[in-house]
């Protein structure tokens, strides 16, 4: 049995779904599952970690870790790893995970694989499947010359279930004193309170077929009913209709929700690259030859201005909202 340490991220007093997935994956694969949690809320999250299988919960309960700072997180994590020396480390491919772990890998002289979608625990080796060429292909990554194997995993890869709870024994660690060169001045909240595109379970994307920026309200209305997050094609991002944080595709975000609804999006190869990992794809487009239909599960050939309001209305009835 190998030891797997999961870097647990949390928000508003709850551990993120992506971190729950990781704890459950490790536990289901018969790992000795350990969690590491940072910030003033860390101890309060220990029961939630235990429920998802953590045997031990290593906390650095310091308010300096409430916001992400690469130097402080690196120092805290290095100190914890030094003590527990796990074989495997799992974290999510989030903005924190992606910033932090490659640098940690360089510091420790170990490899890091990011953006994994599948893990295979093979004794002393952790193998990870990951999309390459923006989802146009996949490869299997394996570690060499690494004393620790670090994998960052995309969100929404497994359904959550219940696992055998762990003991969840809390082990406290102190934040080492370091000479800070980088200061995080503030975190400016985004306009929407919605889940990020990369974490959302349902994504509705709009393209040039929407004709003008104001018509994104049609998507927002549907998104409110479905609890979805709204994305966009590059064409409308470049046109300035929406911010670039909403772009889906090869030079935007890669998403893999349960349901992806593309509205007035033609399905250019660069767009498909960012969303073809979605489980169910719905395309609404008035051109039956639009390439998006080649990737779609269900297609409606029709005028989005006629379809969308009806769709929102019907969903509202069906979902009782």
């Amino acid at each position: 049995m190998a030891t797997t340490l999961v870097f647990v991220e949390h928000q508003d007093g709850q551990i993120k779904r992506s971190s729950q997935e990781l704890l459950q994956i490790a536990t289901k694969n018969n790992q000795k599952t350990l969690a590491v949690v940072f910030g003033s809320q860390a101890k309060a999250l220990a029961p939630a970690c235990a429920q998802n299988g953590a045997q031990e919960v290593h906390v650095v309960a310091d308010a300096k870790l409430d916001n992400y700072n690469s130097e402080l997180f690196l120092a805290a994590l290095s100190a914890v790893l030094e003590k527990i020396k796990p074989q495997f480390v799992l974290a999510s491919s989030s903005s924190t995970g992606r910033d932090l772990f490659p640098r940690l890998g360089a510091r420790l002289g170990t490899g890091v694989v990011s953006d994994a979608i599948e893990l295979n625990f093979d004794g002393a080796n952790l193998k990870a499947k990951k999309p390459v060429y923006a989802g146009k292909a996949f490869a299997i990554a394996e570690f060499k010359n690494s004393s620790m194997q670090i994998v960052l995993m995309r969100a929404n890869q497994i359904p959550l279930s219940s696992v055998t709870a762990g003991a969840g024994q809390v082990v406290e660690h102190a934040l080492p004193a370091i000479d800070l060169k980088t200061i995080v001045q503030e975190v400016v909240k985004g306009a929407s309170k919605k889940m990020d595109l990369t974490e959302a379970n349902i994504v509705i994307s709009g393209g040039r077929g929407l004709k003008e920026a104001g018509n994104f309200k049609l998507l927002n209305e549907l998104a409110d009913v479905l609890g979805a997050t709204v994305g966009a094609s590059r064409a409308v991002v470049d046109a300035g209709w929406v911010g670039h944080d909403m772009q889906v595709g090869q030079t935007g975000k890669t998403v893999a929700p349960t349901l992806y609804i593309a509205v007035g999006v033609s399905g250019a190869i660069q767009h498909l690259a960012g969303m073809s990992g979605s489980k169910v794809i719905v395309a609404i487009n008035n051109d039956a030859n639009a390439p998006i239909f080649q990737k779609a599960t269900y297609g409606i050939v029709g005028d989005l201005f006629e379809i969308l309001p009806k769709l929102t209305e019907e969903f509202r009835k069906v979902l009782g909202k």
Binding site: S95, T96, P102, R107, E142, G277, T297, G299
Partner: protein
């Protein structure tokens, strides 16, 4: 001020990817190579910084097989960079050895004040090389940067995080900045730029001569595959109302996606 920009050559975003028959990688036949789109943004930002600090020099550096990788350097030189550096080596180095090779070459060149990179290369999707270079050089870094301002040796950046939120970070030079979309609109190389680039110097290093050995390969990739074929789309029939109710029925009862 000495500015470095790390650029990578990647398959064009239009490229249809085919896998070699033994699954060891992609079939390079017919692939058009371009500069990684985020690295174009990094080059543009370096040019803007040089404009603010006359007398600065921009070195663009790439690691890869020199026969093709120099083309990406020529593009950056045509955009306006001053000098090119190619670190010649195999095309399948992992992030760790790539970063170590680039960091060693940058050390040899000396005096790097600011290093620009892209947030991610669109072929390997690693988003790792930047932070690793910063660690090997012992300098601060910020990734996914969409806004940036210099004041003396202080750099204030905005880093894009989940949900459209941003972290405002202050760093000191020397530092590494990994560019996200939104930072600027990269210029196209002009014809005179392309002519001038032909005369600009491209220096060469070798990965092995920089002390990178097999022990620096931390990750290997194999068993490449293509996504499974999707079954053909189900087109929903009837008028708009019929299509809509059929869609909701299928999403609920067939796909169980709600």
């Amino acid at each position: 001020m000495k500015i470095f920009v790390c650029i990578k050559q990647v398959p064009d975003t239009e490229a249809k990817i085919k896998i070699k028959s033994d699954g060891s990688g992609i079939d390079p036949a017919g692939i058009k190579w371009v500069m990684n789109p985020y690295d174009e943004i990094a080059v543009e930002e370096a040019i803007k910084l040089r404009d603010l600090n006359p007398g600065s020099q921009i070195n663009v550096i790439t690691a890869g097989p020199k026969e093709r990788a120099v083309e990406a350097l020529r593009t950056a030189l045509a955009m306006g960079a001053d000098e090119g550096i190619v670190v010649h080596g195999p095309d399948n180095l992992d992030a760790y050895s790539t970063a170590k090779a680039l960091a060693e070459a940058i050390k040899k060149e000396g005096d790097a004040q600011v290093i620009f990179t892209g947030k991610l290369s669109i072929d390997t999707n690693q988003a790792s090389v930047s932070q690793m270079i910063a660690e090997f050089l012992g300098i601060s870094h910020a990734t996914v940067v969409s806004k940036l301002q210099f004041a003396g040796d202080t750099v204030t950046v905005e880093r894009d995080i989940e949900g459209g939120a941003k972290e405002k970070i202050q760093l000191k030079t020397p530092c590494l900045i990994a560019a996200n979309k939104g930072l600027n609109m990269p210029r196209y190389a002009s014809l005179p730029g392309i002519m001038k680039a032909k005369k600009k110097v491209i220096k060469e290093y070798e990965v092995a001569a920089l002390g990178i050995t097999d022990a620096d390969r931390k990750v290997s990739y194999s068993q490449y595959s293509l996504p499974a074929d999707k079954p053909p789309v189900k087109l929903l029939q009837g008028d708009a109302s019929a299509q809509v109710s059929e869609l909701i029925h299928l999403l609920r009862d067939e796909a169980k996606a709600l």
